[in-house]
């Protein structure tokens, strides 16, 4: 897959695992490696500045933004002149075994789209992975409860001082906080 010697790969993986940059998932005798929550992950995500996709022979549906010649593609002229056949990235494409007809992308579709949009727009879909979703849901629930409490308070005060505006505002706050099916 990578064109690297097994011992080199083992040493590098041992280092990355010890530094908690990658984590392992064991599935019987198979060990799969994934990026852990190390800050290096952010650096890796920033590394790519895709400019042009290039199909990978033998990998249907897979396109790489890294030139087979070893250079990041900026223009056809650039890809034709840079690097050599033995360079690092020229051997990096994913190789599929027999019976593997899955479609993989060396870079996610988000990266493709991000290249065509200014950063404030592309951030809508290149926001990384969602983590701590239960914490997020707990925060949202807390926010809803707070809005409901404020709505109740506004309605009580509105009725006490006989202010239609405040009562309507209380209704507004309640609508902001309640789930859609209760509206």
């Amino acid at each position: 897959m990578t064109g690297l010697h097994d011992t080199t790969v083992s040493q590098a993986l041992r280092y990355l695992r010890a530094a908690q940059i990658v984590s392992t998932q064991r599935d019987g005798r198979i060990i799969r490696y994934a990026l852990a929550g190390h800050p290096v992950r952010t650096l890796l995500a920033r590394r790519w500045v895709p400019a042009q996709a290039e199909p990978i022979p033998g990998c249907p549906g897979v396109r790489s933004h890294i030139g087979r010649s070893g250079a990041e593609l900026k223009s056809p002229a650039c890809s034709a002149s840079a690097g050599g056949p033995g360079s690092l990235y020229g051997q990096m494409s994913l190789r599929h075994g027999p019976g593997d007809d899955g479609v993989h992308d060396a870079h996610p579709p988000e990266a493709h789209r991000a290249a065509r949009w200014p950063a404030p727009v592309s951030l809508c879909w290149t926001h990384g992975q969602t983590t701590d979703i239960w914490l997020g849901m707990a925060g949202a629930t807390l926010g809803m409860a707070g809005n409901q409490a404020v709505a109740l308070y506004k309605r009580r005060v509105g009725r006490r001082i006989n202010s239609l505006t405040l009562i309507v505002e209380a209704r507004h706050s309640w609508l902001d906080a309640c789930p859609p099916w209760e509206r």
Binding site: T8, A12, L16
Partner: protein, 66 residues
């Protein structure tokens, strides 16, 4: 302008302040340098690129090209 730089001749004070703010504390810079050093090794960068793009992935799936 920070007091320790009061005696220095400053051409563009706003930019100096922005540069100081970006640097943060020296320990933070050292930490960032270590993070970049991880990616400065071609083997590690190769593996991390593959894992980042396709992980979780088993390295035994790969084979050396002829």
């Amino acid at each position: 302008m920070p007091a320790e730089r009061a005696g220095h001749r400053v051409i563009d004070s706003e930019r100096v302040c922005r540069a100081i703010a970006a640097l943060g504390d020296p320990e933070s810079i050292r930490t960032q340098a270590q993070h970049h050093a991880v990616l400065a090794d071609p083997t590690r960068l190769t593996l991390l690129t593959c894992i980042s793009a396709a992980g979780p992935i088993s390295v035994s799936d790969g084979d050396r090209p002829a």
